[in-house]
């Protein structure tokens, strides 16, 4: 057996072990009448289709075009988003923090993986992994460099560690050159990372 083939088998059997254990657990929970498998399917389908960064992007784009909404959003994120018909699913205690020319905000959960699911979907692996969780509160500029993001030297950087059931969403600065753009057009510029604080929105004519 070649070295490569051996590695492949090894990886495969490790994956299978976890897969088998997960299946066994679901079988037991089903047989005991705790869960209905179709309900588990529906949960997964909802996460795959209904939640995602498009929700946050619409909120950001609305804030960029509607000063009254932006004011309400910064005062009480959950309440303001609750008034938008098309983004109705939002939990309590969403705090929206605004980037300005003087201050950049960045969100982390050093203790686990707290993240505004309803606005951004399920968090990416890097958000839940040790490199980000360990360094974001100590060396955020170093972390930003891993994302090819550089901030002006004297700009304040504020890191929000999500240690309770509050959730944080960054309101990034509106890109220049977007005067007169519609909410729909603006929402296309809003990236997931710009709402975590590890990136910026796309710029008009820039890479998508």
């Amino acid at each position: 057996m070649s070295e490569h083939h051996h590695d492949h088998d090894h990886d495969h059997s490790e994956l299978s072990e976890t897969e088998l254990r997960v299946r066994a657990l679901e079988t037991i929970l089903t047989e005991k009448g705790y869960v209905e498998p179709a309900a588990l399917d529906a949960i997964i389908q909802a996460y795959e289709t209904k939640i995602g960064p498009h929700n946050g992007a619409r909120v950001v784009a609305k804030a960029w075009t509607d000063p009254a909404f932006k004011k309400a959003l910064l005062e009480d994120g959950s309440k303001a988003i609750g008034t938008l018909g098309h983004v109705s699913r939002v939990g309590d205690h969403l705090v929206v923090v605004e980037n300005t020319p003087e201050r950049h905000n960045m969100v982390v959960c050093t203790l686990c993986s707290c993240y505004p699911w309803e606005m951004l979907g399920l968090p990416p692996v890097w958000y839940k992994a040790a490199p980000y969780r360990s360094r974001a509160v100590k060396d955020p500029r170093g972390v930003l460099a891993d994302f090819d993001v550089t901030l002006p030297k004297d700009m304040e950087i504020r890191v929000w560690d999500s240690t309770a059931e509050t959730r944080f969403l960054v309101l990034p600065m509106r890109p220049e050159g977007t005067e007169g753009w519609s909410e729909e057009q603006l929402a296309e510029l809003v990236t997931r990372d710009s709402m975590i604080g590890t990136g910026f929105p796309r710029t008009p004519g820039g890479p998508s």
């Binding site: 299946r23 037991i28 309590d92 686990c112 560690d161 240690t163 309770a164």
Partner: protein
């Protein structure tokens, strides 16, 4: 507990490596684990703080070497066994062998799905007035409980300023070990980066945590 999950400020984990076009799940089983955790939590088998505590109590080498959803799976299985919803024999056999234990909110069926798409509510009526006002200086207590806490090590003993008051919330420290919700005032407390990390720290950095009142003393 002073576990490896409390990662703020640790060194040596390397670069952050974003994955371009990352899929929502890397393996199908990950989605089943997510769904089982959400379903059993919603059915009342455990609260969110208990589920976090079970992941934190995984042995450090397991915590550090397991993928995110593997940790969720290991925590879920152990928690359901210890809470009496299944037995080790059933897990070994891969089938139910004992009668079910009643779930507080009943079986998780299709009709329950909609309600879990919005996070639960954690605000509670205040049992007493808030001790701190916005702008107060507070010191994070130097406490080291061996049970679940949401006060990260890197702020303990340091002085910060109360910036926001979020009202009274379920207290994770007691909820995690099933000693009740014991609602406490919750504040955003902001620290200067150099107070936390010393003179070599980034002078432009401010870090905040959300701190429950029992984590704080006046300073």
């Amino acid at each position: 507990m002073n576990g490896v999950h409390d990662m703020g400020g640790m060194d040596g984990f390397g670069k952050v490596e974003p994955e371009p076009n990352e899929p929502m799940f890397h393996e199908e089983w990950e989605s089943r684990v997510l769904a089982m955790v959400r379903a059993m939590g919603a059915a009342g088998a455990f609260n969110i703080d208990t589920s976090r505590f079970y992941r934190e109590t995984l042995p450090p080498h397991v915590y550090l070497s397991s993928s995110y959803y593997k940790k969720w799976f290991l925590g879920l299985e152990e928690m359901l066994i210890e809470k009496g919803y299944l037995t080790r024999e059933e897990v070994a056999a891969g089938h139910a062998m004992q009668p079910a234990k009643a779930l507080k909110h009943g079986k998780f069926d299709l009709g329950q799905v909609e309600r879990i798409l919005v996070r639960g509510k954690f605000a509670r009526p205040a049992p007493a007035p808030a001790k701190f006002n916005i702008g107060n200086r507070v010191r994070a207590r130097n406490i080291h409980p061996t049970t679940h806490t949401r006060l990260p090590r890197y702020v303990r003993g340091h002085v910060g300023v109360v910036e926001l008051n979020h009202g009274c919330h379920v207290f994770p420290d007691t909820a995690a070990i099933e000693l009740g919700e014991s609602p406490q005032w919750l504040y955003t407390v902001v620290f200067e980066g150099r107070d936390l990390w010393g003179e070599d720290g980034d002078p432009t950095l401010k870090v905040s945590i959300d701190a429950f009142e029992p984590y704080l003393d006046p300073a």
